[in-house]
Symmetry: C2
Subunit: 319 residues, 2 copies
Amino acid sequence: MDKPYVIGMDMGGTNTVFGVVDSRGSVISKSAIKTSNHPEDVNLYINDIYVELSKLIQAAGGIDKIKGIGIGAPNGNYYTGNIEHAPNLPWKGIVPFAKLMSAKFGIPAALTNDANAAAFGEMTYGAARGMKDFIMITLGTGVGSGIIIDGKVLYGHDGFAGELGHTTAVRNNGRLCGCGKTGCLETYCSATGVARSAREILESTDKSSLLRNIPSEEITSKDVFDAAMEGDEVAKEIFNFTGKILGESLADFVAFSAPEAIVLFGGLSKAGDLILNPIRENMEKNLLPLWRGKIKLVFSDLKEADAAVLGASALAWEL
Amino acid sequence: MDKPYVIGMDMGGTNTVFGVVDSRGSVISKSAIKTSNHPEDVNLYINDIYVELSKLIQAAGGIDKIKGIGIGAPNGNYYTGNIEHAPNLPWKGIVPFAKLMSAKFGIPAALTNDANAAAFGEMTYGAARGMKDFIMITLGTGVGSGIIIDGKVLYGHDGFAGELGHTTAVRNNGRLCGCGKTGCLETYCSATGVARSAREILESTDKSSLLRNIPSEEITSKDVFDAAMEGDEVAKEIFNFTGKILGESLADFVAFSAPEAIVLFGGLSKAGDLILNPIRENMEKNLLPLWRGKIKLVFSDLKEADAAVLGASALAWEL
Protein backbone atom coordinates (compact mmCIF):
# COMPACT_ATOMS: atom_id res chain seq x y z
CA MET A 1 0.00 0.00 0.00
CA ASP A 2 1.28 3.43 -0.88
CA LYS A 3 2.06 5.61 2.08
CA PRO A 4 0.21 8.90 1.68
CA TYR A 5 2.09 11.06 4.21
CA VAL A 6 5.51 12.26 5.27
CA ILE A 7 6.70 14.04 8.38
CA GLY A 8 8.50 17.37 8.04
CA MET A 9 10.46 18.71 10.97
CA ASP A 10 12.19 22.06 11.27
CA MET A 11 14.68 22.39 14.10
CA GLY A 12 15.40 25.96 15.10
CA GLY A 13 17.52 27.29 17.92
CA THR A 14 14.39 28.03 19.95
CA ASN A 15 11.52 25.94 18.62
CA THR A 16 11.21 22.64 16.82
CA VAL A 17 8.17 22.49 14.56
CA PHE A 18 6.88 19.33 12.93
CA GLY A 19 3.90 18.34 10.87
CA VAL A 20 2.26 15.65 8.77
CA VAL A 21 2.28 16.56 5.08
CA ASP A 22 0.49 15.02 2.11
CA SER A 23 1.81 14.71 -1.43
CA ARG A 24 0.20 17.96 -2.58
CA GLY A 25 2.06 19.92 0.07
CA SER A 26 -0.75 20.41 2.54
CA VAL A 27 0.31 20.42 6.16
CA ILE A 28 -2.54 18.36 7.59
CA SER A 29 -1.44 18.70 11.21
CA LYS A 30 1.32 20.54 13.00
CA SER A 31 2.82 20.89 16.47
CA ALA A 32 5.94 22.21 18.17
CA ILE A 33 8.19 21.80 21.20
CA LYS A 34 11.06 23.80 22.69
CA THR A 35 14.41 22.81 21.24
CA SER A 36 16.53 23.40 24.28
CA ASN A 37 14.67 21.86 27.23
CA HIS A 38 17.23 19.05 27.43
CA PRO A 39 20.67 20.45 26.72
CA GLU A 40 22.22 17.51 28.59
CA ASP A 41 20.80 14.72 26.43
CA VAL A 42 19.53 14.76 22.87
CA ASN A 43 17.60 11.53 23.56
CA LEU A 44 15.34 13.35 26.01
CA TYR A 45 14.66 15.94 23.32
CA ILE A 46 13.77 13.15 20.91
CA ASN A 47 11.45 11.75 23.58
CA ASP A 48 9.64 15.09 23.73
CA ILE A 49 9.25 15.00 19.95
CA TYR A 50 8.02 11.41 20.13
CA VAL A 51 5.30 12.24 22.62
CA GLU A 52 3.94 15.15 20.55
CA LEU A 53 4.47 13.75 17.09
CA SER A 54 2.90 10.38 17.94
CA LYS A 55 -0.42 12.15 18.49
CA LEU A 56 -0.28 13.62 14.98
CA ILE A 57 0.74 10.25 13.53
CA GLN A 58 -2.14 8.46 15.25
CA ALA A 59 -4.58 11.08 13.98
CA ALA A 60 -3.26 10.49 10.44
CA GLY A 61 -3.96 6.76 10.67
CA GLY A 62 -0.79 5.41 12.30
CA ILE A 63 2.87 5.00 11.45
CA ASP A 64 2.07 2.70 8.49
CA LYS A 65 0.73 5.70 6.62
CA ILE A 66 4.03 7.60 6.93
CA LYS A 67 6.76 7.20 4.32
CA GLY A 68 9.49 8.83 6.35
CA ILE A 69 10.75 11.81 8.28
CA GLY A 70 12.53 14.76 6.65
CA ILE A 71 14.45 17.05 8.95
CA GLY A 72 15.86 20.53 8.41
CA ALA A 73 18.48 21.34 11.03
CA PRO A 74 21.30 23.84 11.43
CA ASN A 75 24.60 22.29 10.32
CA GLY A 76 22.73 19.22 9.15
CA ASN A 77 24.81 16.97 6.91
CA TYR A 78 22.72 15.08 4.38
CA TYR A 79 25.42 12.52 3.65
CA THR A 80 25.86 11.37 7.23
CA GLY A 81 22.51 12.30 8.76
CA ASN A 82 24.51 14.03 11.49
CA ILE A 83 24.19 17.47 13.01
CA GLU A 84 27.78 18.63 13.16
CA HIS A 85 29.02 21.28 15.59
CA ALA A 86 25.93 23.48 15.40
CA PRO A 87 26.71 26.71 17.27
CA ASN A 88 23.04 27.51 17.96
CA LEU A 89 22.00 24.11 19.34
CA PRO A 90 22.58 22.83 22.87
CA TRP A 91 24.20 19.49 21.88
CA LYS A 92 27.87 19.84 21.10
CA GLY A 93 29.99 17.87 18.66
CA ILE A 94 28.47 15.40 16.23
CA VAL A 95 24.92 14.17 16.82
CA PRO A 96 23.70 11.23 14.65
CA PHE A 97 20.26 12.75 14.61
CA ALA A 98 18.68 11.07 11.57
CA LYS A 99 19.72 7.67 12.86
CA LEU A 100 18.31 8.37 16.34
CA MET A 101 15.00 9.58 14.90
CA SER A 102 14.73 6.62 12.55
CA ALA A 103 15.36 4.19 15.42
CA LYS A 104 12.82 5.93 17.66
CA PHE A 105 10.00 5.97 15.09
CA GLY A 106 10.86 2.83 13.12
CA ILE A 107 10.71 4.60 9.75
CA PRO A 108 13.46 6.11 7.56
CA ALA A 109 14.68 9.63 8.30
CA ALA A 110 16.81 12.07 6.31
CA LEU A 111 18.30 15.36 7.35
CA THR A 112 19.75 18.43 5.72
CA ASN A 113 20.32 22.04 6.65
CA ASP A 114 17.40 24.45 6.69
CA ALA A 115 18.26 26.31 3.48
CA ASN A 116 18.64 23.08 1.51
CA ALA A 117 15.33 21.91 2.92
CA ALA A 118 13.73 25.18 1.82
CA ALA A 119 15.06 24.65 -1.72
CA PHE A 120 13.74 21.12 -1.72
CA GLY A 121 10.34 22.34 -0.59
CA GLU A 122 10.26 25.03 -3.26
CA MET A 123 11.00 22.43 -5.93
CA THR A 124 8.47 19.93 -4.61
CA TYR A 125 5.56 22.21 -3.76
CA GLY A 126 6.46 25.84 -4.50
CA ALA A 127 7.64 28.49 -6.95
CA ALA A 128 10.26 26.19 -8.47
CA ARG A 129 7.94 23.30 -9.22
CA GLY A 130 9.10 21.67 -12.45
CA MET A 131 12.49 23.39 -12.36
CA LYS A 132 15.67 21.33 -12.27
CA ASP A 133 18.23 24.10 -11.85
CA PHE A 134 17.68 26.96 -9.46
CA ILE A 135 19.19 28.73 -6.48
CA MET A 136 17.24 29.41 -3.31
CA ILE A 137 18.39 32.32 -1.16
CA THR A 138 16.92 32.55 2.33
CA LEU A 139 17.01 36.03 3.78
CA GLY A 140 16.50 35.79 7.51
CA THR A 141 18.60 36.31 10.62
CA GLY A 142 21.36 35.08 8.33
CA VAL A 143 21.60 34.51 4.59
CA GLY A 144 21.33 30.85 3.62
CA SER A 145 21.23 29.12 0.29
CA GLY A 146 20.11 25.88 -1.24
CA ILE A 147 21.31 25.08 -4.72
CA ILE A 148 19.44 22.70 -6.99
CA ILE A 149 21.40 21.19 -9.86
CA ASP A 150 19.66 18.84 -12.25
CA GLY A 151 16.81 18.27 -9.82
CA LYS A 152 19.01 17.44 -6.85
CA VAL A 153 20.27 19.48 -3.89
CA LEU A 154 23.95 20.30 -4.38
CA TYR A 155 25.79 18.87 -1.37
CA GLY A 156 29.34 18.86 -2.71
CA HIS A 157 32.18 16.65 -1.62
CA ASP A 158 31.56 16.96 2.11
CA GLY A 159 27.83 17.69 2.33
CA PHE A 160 28.24 21.40 3.08
CA ALA A 161 27.94 23.04 -0.36
CA GLY A 162 25.79 26.13 -0.76
CA GLU A 163 27.17 28.55 1.82
CA LEU A 164 26.49 31.55 -0.39
CA GLY A 165 25.82 33.78 2.61
CA HIS A 166 29.54 33.52 3.28
CA THR A 167 30.81 34.46 -0.14
CA THR A 168 32.57 37.81 -0.01
CA ALA A 169 30.30 40.58 -1.21
CA VAL A 170 32.54 43.43 -0.12
CA ARG A 171 36.23 42.71 -0.54
CA ASN A 172 37.81 45.72 1.19
CA ASN A 173 36.76 47.06 4.58
CA GLY A 174 33.84 44.67 4.62
CA ARG A 175 31.76 44.13 7.75
CA LEU A 176 32.87 41.57 10.31
CA CYS A 177 30.79 38.41 10.07
CA GLY A 178 29.89 35.95 12.80
CA CYS A 179 31.95 33.35 10.90
CA GLY A 180 35.13 35.34 11.51
CA LYS A 181 35.58 36.58 7.95
CA THR A 182 34.79 40.07 6.70
CA GLY A 183 32.52 41.29 3.93
CA CYS A 184 30.29 38.20 3.81
CA LEU A 185 27.03 38.61 1.89
CA GLU A 186 25.22 37.74 5.11
CA THR A 187 26.54 40.85 6.86
CA TYR A 188 24.71 43.02 4.31
CA CYS A 189 21.59 41.15 3.26
CA SER A 190 20.37 39.45 6.42
CA ALA A 191 17.84 41.18 8.67
CA THR A 192 20.65 42.30 10.95
CA GLY A 193 22.65 43.37 7.90
CA VAL A 194 19.82 45.66 6.83
CA ALA A 195 19.70 47.13 10.33
CA ARG A 196 23.46 47.74 10.19
CA SER A 197 23.05 49.45 6.82
CA ALA A 198 20.30 51.60 8.29
CA ARG A 199 22.58 52.83 11.06
CA GLU A 200 25.44 53.50 8.62
CA ILE A 201 23.31 55.34 6.09
CA LEU A 202 21.54 57.42 8.75
CA GLU A 203 24.91 58.49 10.09
CA SER A 204 26.25 59.35 6.66
CA THR A 205 23.51 61.83 5.80
CA ASP A 206 21.46 64.65 7.28
CA LYS A 207 18.31 63.75 5.40
CA SER A 208 15.22 63.57 7.54
CA SER A 209 13.82 60.09 8.05
CA LEU A 210 11.14 58.36 10.07
CA LEU A 211 13.91 56.06 11.23
CA ARG A 212 15.44 58.90 13.23
CA ASN A 213 12.53 58.52 15.66
CA ILE A 214 13.95 55.17 16.74
CA PRO A 215 17.10 54.87 18.87
CA SER A 216 19.80 53.90 16.38
CA GLU A 217 20.77 50.63 18.09
CA GLU A 218 17.15 49.48 18.17
CA ILE A 219 16.36 49.85 14.46
CA THR A 220 15.28 46.55 12.89
CA SER A 221 14.78 45.51 9.27
CA LYS A 222 11.05 45.66 9.95
CA ASP A 223 11.36 49.33 10.92
CA VAL A 224 13.13 49.96 7.61
CA PHE A 225 10.36 48.14 5.79
CA ASP A 226 7.63 50.09 7.59
CA ALA A 227 9.34 53.40 6.86
CA ALA A 228 9.87 52.51 3.20
CA MET A 229 6.19 51.64 2.85
CA GLU A 230 5.40 55.15 4.07
CA GLY A 231 7.61 56.59 1.35
CA ASP A 232 10.63 57.35 3.52
CA GLU A 233 13.51 58.16 1.17
CA VAL A 234 16.30 57.02 3.48
CA ALA A 235 14.55 53.69 4.03
CA LYS A 236 14.30 53.23 0.27
CA GLU A 237 17.99 54.07 -0.02
CA ILE A 238 18.72 51.31 2.50
CA PHE A 239 16.79 48.81 0.38
CA ASN A 240 18.55 50.05 -2.76
CA PHE A 241 21.91 49.49 -1.10
CA THR A 242 20.90 46.02 0.12
CA GLY A 243 19.53 45.12 -3.30
CA LYS A 244 22.68 46.31 -5.00
CA ILE A 245 24.92 44.09 -2.87
CA LEU A 246 22.63 41.09 -3.31
CA GLY A 247 22.10 41.63 -7.05
CA GLU A 248 25.84 41.86 -7.68
CA SER A 249 26.39 38.62 -5.82
CA LEU A 250 23.54 36.86 -7.61
CA ALA A 251 25.17 37.65 -10.96
CA ASP A 252 28.27 35.76 -9.83
CA PHE A 253 26.15 32.82 -8.71
CA VAL A 254 24.52 32.71 -12.14
CA ALA A 255 27.97 32.59 -13.77
CA PHE A 256 28.66 29.51 -11.65
CA SER A 257 25.62 27.33 -12.22
CA ALA A 258 23.48 29.00 -14.92
CA PRO A 259 20.20 28.45 -13.06
CA GLU A 260 16.75 28.84 -14.58
CA ALA A 261 15.69 30.94 -11.60
CA ILE A 262 16.69 32.44 -8.30
CA VAL A 263 14.07 32.09 -5.58
CA LEU A 264 14.13 34.47 -2.64
CA PHE A 265 12.64 33.46 0.67
CA GLY A 266 12.34 35.03 4.10
CA GLY A 267 11.66 38.29 5.85
CA LEU A 268 13.20 40.63 3.29
CA SER A 269 10.95 39.27 0.55
CA LYS A 270 8.07 41.05 2.24
CA ALA A 271 9.50 44.31 0.95
CA GLY A 272 8.35 43.25 -2.54
CA ASP A 273 9.39 45.49 -5.41
CA LEU A 274 11.20 47.83 -3.02
CA ILE A 275 13.86 45.17 -2.72
CA LEU A 276 13.24 43.13 -5.90
CA ASN A 277 13.80 46.05 -8.27
CA PRO A 278 17.27 47.00 -7.07
CA ILE A 279 18.24 43.32 -6.84
CA ARG A 280 17.13 42.70 -10.41
CA GLU A 281 18.70 45.86 -11.79
CA ASN A 282 22.10 45.14 -10.25
CA MET A 283 22.01 41.46 -11.12
CA GLU A 284 21.25 42.23 -14.76
CA LYS A 285 24.01 44.85 -14.91
CA ASN A 286 26.55 42.28 -13.76
CA LEU A 287 25.46 39.32 -15.88
CA LEU A 288 27.25 38.22 -19.01
CA PRO A 289 25.18 39.32 -22.03
CA LEU A 290 24.11 35.73 -22.72
CA TRP A 291 22.08 35.65 -19.48
CA ARG A 292 20.58 39.15 -19.49
CA GLY A 293 16.82 39.14 -19.25
CA LYS A 294 16.78 35.34 -19.00
CA ILE A 295 17.19 34.50 -15.31
CA LYS A 296 13.91 34.42 -13.42
CA LEU A 297 14.00 36.22 -10.08
CA VAL A 298 11.02 35.28 -7.93
CA PHE A 299 9.83 35.15 -4.38
CA SER A 300 8.93 31.88 -2.72
CA ASP A 301 5.21 31.18 -2.90
CA LEU A 302 5.09 28.84 0.07
CA LYS A 303 3.15 30.11 3.05
CA GLU A 304 5.83 31.34 5.42
CA ALA A 305 4.42 29.62 8.49
CA ASP A 306 4.50 26.24 6.74
CA ALA A 307 7.53 26.62 4.50
CA ALA A 308 10.15 25.15 6.83
CA VAL A 309 8.08 22.08 7.66
CA LEU A 310 7.15 21.64 3.99
CA GLY A 311 10.75 21.94 2.90
CA ALA A 312 11.92 19.35 5.39
CA SER A 313 9.03 17.05 4.50
CA ALA A 314 9.99 17.15 0.82
CA LEU A 315 13.19 15.28 1.70
CA ALA A 316 11.16 12.37 2.98
CA TRP A 317 9.47 11.61 -0.34
CA GLU A 318 12.86 10.52 -1.62
CA LEU A 319 13.35 7.98 1.14
CA MET B 1 32.99 -5.95 -30.10
CA ASP B 2 34.21 -3.24 -27.78
CA LYS B 3 35.51 -0.18 -29.50
CA PRO B 4 38.97 0.62 -28.13
CA TYR B 5 39.37 4.22 -29.30
CA VAL B 6 37.77 7.64 -29.29
CA ILE B 7 38.53 10.80 -31.25
CA GLY B 8 39.32 14.00 -29.39
CA MET B 9 39.19 17.28 -31.23
CA ASP B 10 40.12 20.73 -29.94
CA MET B 11 38.91 23.65 -32.00
CA GLY B 12 40.88 26.83 -31.43
CA GLY B 13 40.61 30.17 -33.16
CA THR B 14 43.72 29.39 -35.22
CA ASN B 15 44.27 25.65 -35.25
CA THR B 16 42.08 22.60 -34.92
CA VAL B 17 43.90 19.65 -33.38
CA PHE B 18 42.52 16.11 -33.32
CA GLY B 19 43.79 12.72 -32.30
CA VAL B 20 42.93 9.10 -31.68
CA VAL B 21 42.97 8.28 -27.96
CA ASP B 22 42.84 4.97 -26.12
CA SER B 23 41.12 4.25 -22.83
CA ARG B 24 44.26 4.87 -20.79
CA GLY B 25 44.56 8.39 -22.12
CA SER B 26 47.34 7.81 -24.63
CA VAL B 27 47.11 9.93 -27.76
CA ILE B 28 48.09 7.28 -30.29
CA SER B 29 48.05 9.61 -33.29
CA LYS B 30 47.47 13.30 -33.79
CA SER B 31 47.12 15.86 -36.57
CA ALA B 32 45.91 19.42 -37.14
CA ILE B 33 44.44 21.78 -39.71
CA LYS B 34 43.84 25.54 -39.85
CA THR B 35 40.47 26.50 -38.38
CA SER B 36 39.76 29.45 -40.62
CA ASN B 37 40.57 28.38 -44.18
CA HIS B 38 36.88 28.30 -45.05
CA PRO B 39 35.12 31.17 -43.32
CA GLU B 40 32.34 30.98 -45.93
CA ASP B 41 31.23 27.41 -45.24
CA VAL B 42 31.67 25.22 -42.20
CA ASN B 43 31.10 22.13 -44.35
CA LEU B 44 34.32 22.79 -46.23
CA TYR B 45 36.12 23.00 -42.90
CA ILE B 46 34.59 19.66 -41.91
CA ASN B 47 35.80 18.27 -45.25
CA ASP B 48 39.35 19.32 -44.36
CA ILE B 49 39.01 17.56 -41.02
CA TYR B 50 37.60 14.48 -42.74
CA VAL B 51 40.55 14.21 -45.12
CA GLU B 52 43.14 14.42 -42.34
CA LEU B 53 41.30 12.52 -39.64
CA SER B 54 40.40 9.62 -41.97
CA LYS B 55 44.09 8.83 -42.28
CA LEU B 56 44.41 8.52 -38.50
CA ILE B 57 41.24 6.44 -38.32
CA GLN B 58 42.45 4.04 -41.02
CA ALA B 59 45.79 3.67 -39.24
CA ALA B 60 43.91 2.78 -36.05
CA GLY B 61 42.01 -0.02 -37.78
CA GLY B 62 39.03 1.78 -39.31
CA ILE B 63 35.93 3.58 -38.11
CA ASP B 64 34.57 0.41 -36.43
CA LYS B 65 37.24 0.79 -33.77
CA ILE B 66 36.08 4.30 -32.83
CA LYS B 67 33.40 4.81 -30.19
CA GLY B 68 32.74 8.43 -30.98
CA ILE B 69 34.05 11.94 -31.40
CA GLY B 70 34.41 14.39 -28.51
CA ILE B 71 34.83 18.03 -29.43
CA GLY B 72 35.98 21.00 -27.37
CA ALA B 73 34.97 24.25 -29.04
CA PRO B 74 34.58 27.87 -27.98
CA ASN B 75 30.93 28.60 -27.07
CA GLY B 76 30.13 24.92 -27.50
CA ASN B 77 26.78 23.93 -26.02
CA TYR B 78 26.72 20.36 -24.78
CA TYR B 79 22.93 20.16 -24.67
CA THR B 80 22.39 21.10 -28.30
CA GLY B 81 25.73 20.12 -29.86
CA ASN B 82 25.78 23.60 -31.34
CA ILE B 83 28.49 26.22 -31.45
CA GLU B 84 26.61 29.38 -30.59
CA HIS B 85 27.79 32.85 -31.57
CA ALA B 86 31.51 32.20 -31.04
CA PRO B 87 33.31 35.54 -31.37
CA ASN B 88 36.64 33.93 -32.27
CA LEU B 89 35.41 31.57 -34.98
CA PRO B 90 34.69 32.47 -38.60
CA TRP B 91 31.16 30.98 -38.75
CA LYS B 92 28.54 33.28 -37.33
CA GLY B 93 25.30 32.45 -35.55
CA ILE B 94 24.46 28.92 -34.52
CA VAL B 95 26.38 26.02 -36.08
CA PRO B 96 25.03 22.48 -35.40
CA PHE B 97 28.57 21.21 -35.33
CA ALA B 98 28.18 17.91 -33.46
CA LYS B 99 25.37 16.87 -35.79
CA LEU B 100 27.40 17.74 -38.90
CA MET B 101 30.44 15.83 -37.62
CA SER B 102 28.36 12.81 -36.67
CA ALA B 103 26.74 12.74 -40.12
CA LYS B 104 30.09 13.08 -41.87
CA PHE B 105 31.82 10.29 -39.95
CA GLY B 106 28.85 8.04 -39.25
CA ILE B 107 29.61 7.79 -35.51
CA PRO B 108 28.22 9.72 -32.52
CA ALA B 109 29.71 13.09 -31.66
CA ALA B 110 29.43 15.31 -28.57
CA LEU B 111 30.63 18.82 -28.03
CA THR B 112 31.32 21.13 -25.13
CA ASN B 113 33.38 24.22 -24.49
CA ASP B 114 37.13 23.92 -24.05
CA ALA B 115 37.22 24.43 -20.28
CA ASN B 116 34.53 21.81 -19.68
CA ALA B 117 36.45 19.44 -21.93
CA ALA B 118 39.59 20.11 -19.91
CA ALA B 119 37.73 19.26 -16.69
CA PHE B 120 36.39 16.08 -18.24
CA GLY B 121 39.90 15.12 -19.34
CA GLU B 122 41.29 15.78 -15.87
CA MET B 123 38.65 13.52 -14.36
CA THR B 124 39.09 10.76 -16.90
CA TYR B 125 42.87 10.67 -17.23
CA GLY B 126 44.45 13.35 -15.02
CA ALA B 127 44.94 14.89 -11.59
CA ALA B 128 41.26 14.51 -10.69
CA ARG B 129 40.97 10.82 -11.47
CA GLY B 130 38.57 9.27 -9.00
CA MET B 131 37.19 12.63 -7.89
CA LYS B 132 33.50 13.39 -8.29
CA ASP B 133 33.47 17.01 -7.21
CA PHE B 134 36.11 19.45 -8.34
CA ILE B 135 36.58 22.75 -10.14
CA MET B 136 38.97 23.15 -13.05
CA ILE B 137 40.32 26.64 -13.70
CA THR B 138 42.10 27.19 -17.01
CA LEU B 139 44.52 30.09 -16.95
CA GLY B 140 45.32 31.06 -20.52
CA THR B 141 44.55 33.97 -22.82
CA GLY B 142 41.35 34.08 -20.79
CA VAL B 143 40.23 32.40 -17.59
CA GLY B 144 37.93 29.46 -18.17
CA SER B 145 36.36 26.96 -15.84
CA GLY B 146 34.84 23.52 -15.88
CA ILE B 147 32.89 22.42 -12.83
CA ILE B 148 32.39 18.77 -11.98
CA ILE B 149 29.49 17.95 -9.66
CA ASP B 150 28.90 14.36 -8.67
CA GLY B 151 31.03 13.07 -11.54
CA LYS B 152 29.32 15.13 -14.22
CA VAL B 153 30.15 18.42 -15.92
CA LEU B 154 27.87 21.16 -14.61
CA TYR B 155 26.02 22.59 -17.61
CA GLY B 156 23.19 24.38 -15.87
CA HIS B 157 19.79 25.21 -17.28
CA ASP B 158 21.03 26.46 -20.65
CA GLY B 159 24.31 24.61 -21.13
CA PHE B 160 26.56 27.58 -20.29
CA ALA B 161 27.31 27.12 -16.59
CA GLY B 162 30.86 27.58 -15.34
CA GLU B 163 31.81 31.06 -16.54
CA LEU B 164 33.92 31.70 -13.46
CA GLY B 165 36.34 33.89 -15.42
CA HIS B 166 33.50 36.40 -15.57
CA THR B 167 32.64 36.52 -11.90
CA THR B 168 33.53 39.89 -10.44
CA ALA B 169 36.85 39.75 -8.61
CA VAL B 170 37.19 43.50 -8.15
CA ARG B 171 33.92 45.27 -7.49
CA ASN B 172 34.94 48.93 -7.65
CA ASN B 173 37.13 50.45 -10.36
CA GLY B 174 37.78 46.99 -11.77
CA ARG B 175 39.43 46.52 -15.14
CA LEU B 176 37.32 46.58 -18.30
CA CYS B 177 36.79 43.05 -19.62
CA GLY B 178 36.26 41.93 -23.21
CA CYS B 179 32.76 40.83 -22.17
CA GLY B 180 31.78 44.44 -21.46
CA LYS B 181 31.71 44.14 -17.66
CA THR B 182 34.37 45.42 -15.30
CA GLY B 183 36.43 43.66 -12.66
CA CYS B 184 36.06 40.15 -14.11
CA LEU B 185 38.47 37.56 -12.69
CA GLU B 186 39.74 37.07 -16.24
CA THR B 187 41.05 40.64 -16.42
CA TYR B 188 43.43 39.87 -13.54
CA CYS B 189 44.37 36.21 -13.79
CA SER B 190 44.66 35.54 -17.52
CA ALA B 191 48.02 35.91 -19.27
CA THR B 192 47.01 39.36 -20.47
CA GLY B 193 45.74 40.17 -16.98
CA VAL B 194 49.16 39.40 -15.54
CA ALA B 195 50.75 41.64 -18.16
CA ARG B 196 48.32 44.42 -17.22
CA SER B 197 49.21 43.96 -13.55
CA ALA B 198 52.90 44.15 -14.47
CA ARG B 199 52.41 47.53 -16.14
CA GLU B 200 50.33 48.85 -13.24
CA ILE B 201 52.72 47.68 -10.55
CA LEU B 202 55.80 48.94 -12.41
CA GLU B 203 54.19 52.34 -12.69
CA SER B 204 53.22 52.43 -9.05
CA THR B 205 56.74 51.94 -7.70
CA ASP B 206 60.31 53.02 -8.26
CA LYS B 207 61.80 49.64 -7.39
CA SER B 208 64.32 48.37 -9.90
CA SER B 209 63.19 45.39 -11.92
CA LEU B 210 64.36 43.32 -14.86
CA LEU B 211 60.98 44.07 -16.39
CA ARG B 212 62.00 47.69 -16.86
CA ASN B 213 64.28 46.52 -19.67
CA ILE B 214 61.20 45.67 -21.73
CA PRO B 215 59.00 48.35 -23.31
CA SER B 216 55.97 48.51 -21.00
CA GLU B 217 53.38 47.67 -23.67
CA GLU B 218 55.34 44.58 -24.75
CA ILE B 219 55.61 42.86 -21.36
CA THR B 220 54.03 39.39 -21.38
CA SER B 221 53.18 36.99 -18.58
CA LYS B 222 56.15 34.92 -19.72
CA ASP B 223 58.45 37.89 -19.11
CA VAL B 224 57.05 38.17 -15.60
CA PHE B 225 57.65 34.46 -15.07
CA ASP B 226 61.22 34.66 -16.37
CA ALA B 227 61.97 37.66 -14.16
CA ALA B 228 60.45 36.00 -11.09
CA MET B 229 62.56 32.90 -11.69
CA GLU B 230 65.63 35.15 -11.55
CA GLY B 231 64.49 36.46 -8.18
CA ASP B 232 63.08 39.77 -9.39
CA GLU B 233 61.10 41.26 -6.48
CA VAL B 234 58.63 43.22 -8.60
CA ALA B 235 57.87 40.13 -10.68
CA LYS B 236 57.19 38.20 -7.48
CA GLU B 237 54.94 41.02 -6.32
CA ILE B 238 52.98 40.68 -9.58
CA PHE B 239 52.48 36.98 -8.92
CA ASN B 240 51.48 37.70 -5.32
CA PHE B 241 48.87 40.16 -6.53
CA THR B 242 47.57 37.72 -9.15
CA GLY B 243 47.48 34.90 -6.61
CA LYS B 244 45.63 37.06 -4.10
CA ILE B 245 42.86 37.89 -6.57
CA LEU B 246 42.55 34.28 -7.70
CA GLY B 247 42.71 32.83 -4.17
CA GLU B 248 39.99 35.17 -2.92
CA SER B 249 37.75 34.13 -5.79
CA LEU B 250 38.46 30.43 -5.29
CA ALA B 251 37.25 30.71 -1.68
CA ASP B 252 33.88 31.93 -2.98
CA PHE B 253 33.72 29.08 -5.46
CA VAL B 254 34.34 26.61 -2.63
CA ALA B 255 31.43 28.14 -0.68
CA PHE B 256 29.24 27.40 -3.69
CA SER B 257 30.01 23.79 -4.49
CA ALA B 258 32.27 22.42 -1.71
CA PRO B 259 34.63 20.66 -4.11
CA GLU B 260 37.21 18.09 -3.12
CA ALA B 261 39.84 19.92 -5.18
CA ILE B 262 40.58 22.83 -7.42
CA VAL B 263 42.71 21.95 -10.44
CA LEU B 264 44.67 24.71 -12.18
CA PHE B 265 45.64 24.35 -15.81
CA GLY B 266 47.41 26.51 -18.36
CA GLY B 267 50.29 28.90 -18.77
CA LEU B 268 50.27 30.43 -15.31
CA SER B 269 50.64 27.00 -13.70
CA LYS B 270 54.22 26.94 -14.98
CA ALA B 271 55.05 29.51 -12.31
CA GLY B 272 54.68 26.71 -9.75
CA ASP B 273 54.92 27.73 -6.10
CA LEU B 274 55.47 31.36 -7.08
CA ILE B 275 51.80 31.47 -7.98
CA LEU B 276 50.47 28.50 -5.98
CA ASN B 277 51.59 29.84 -2.60
CA PRO B 278 49.79 33.20 -2.80
CA ILE B 279 46.71 31.51 -4.28
CA ARG B 280 46.59 28.99 -1.45
CA GLU B 281 47.27 31.53 1.28
CA ASN B 282 44.50 33.87 0.12
CA MET B 283 42.05 31.08 -0.54
CA GLU B 284 42.57 29.68 2.96
CA LYS B 285 42.19 33.11 4.53
CA ASN B 286 38.79 33.53 2.88
CA LEU B 287 37.36 30.07 3.48
CA LEU B 288 34.83 29.29 6.16
CA PRO B 289 36.62 27.49 9.02
CA LEU B 290 34.97 24.19 8.09
CA TRP B 291 36.94 24.07 4.81
CA ARG B 292 40.31 25.38 5.95
CA GLY B 293 43.15 23.03 5.14
CA LYS B 294 40.76 20.62 3.43
CA ILE B 295 40.46 21.77 -0.19
CA LYS B 296 43.15 20.31 -2.45
CA LEU B 297 44.74 22.85 -4.75
CA VAL B 298 46.69 21.14 -7.52
CA PHE B 299 48.05 21.65 -10.99
CA SER B 300 46.83 19.57 -13.90
CA ASP B 301 49.11 16.63 -14.60
CA LEU B 302 48.13 16.18 -18.23
CA LYS B 303 50.87 16.90 -20.76
CA GLU B 304 50.01 20.37 -22.00
CA ALA B 305 50.41 19.51 -25.69
CA ASP B 306 47.88 16.69 -25.38
CA ALA B 307 45.54 18.04 -22.75
CA ALA B 308 42.99 19.71 -25.03
CA VAL B 309 42.64 16.66 -27.28
CA LEU B 310 42.50 14.35 -24.26
CA GLY B 311 39.86 16.48 -22.60
CA ALA B 312 37.66 16.50 -25.69
CA SER B 313 38.18 12.77 -26.20
CA ALA B 314 36.97 12.03 -22.68
CA LEU B 315 33.51 13.25 -23.72
CA ALA B 316 33.31 10.52 -26.32
CA TRP B 317 33.58 7.64 -23.85
CA GLU B 318 30.14 8.66 -22.57
CA LEU B 319 28.54 8.37 -26.00
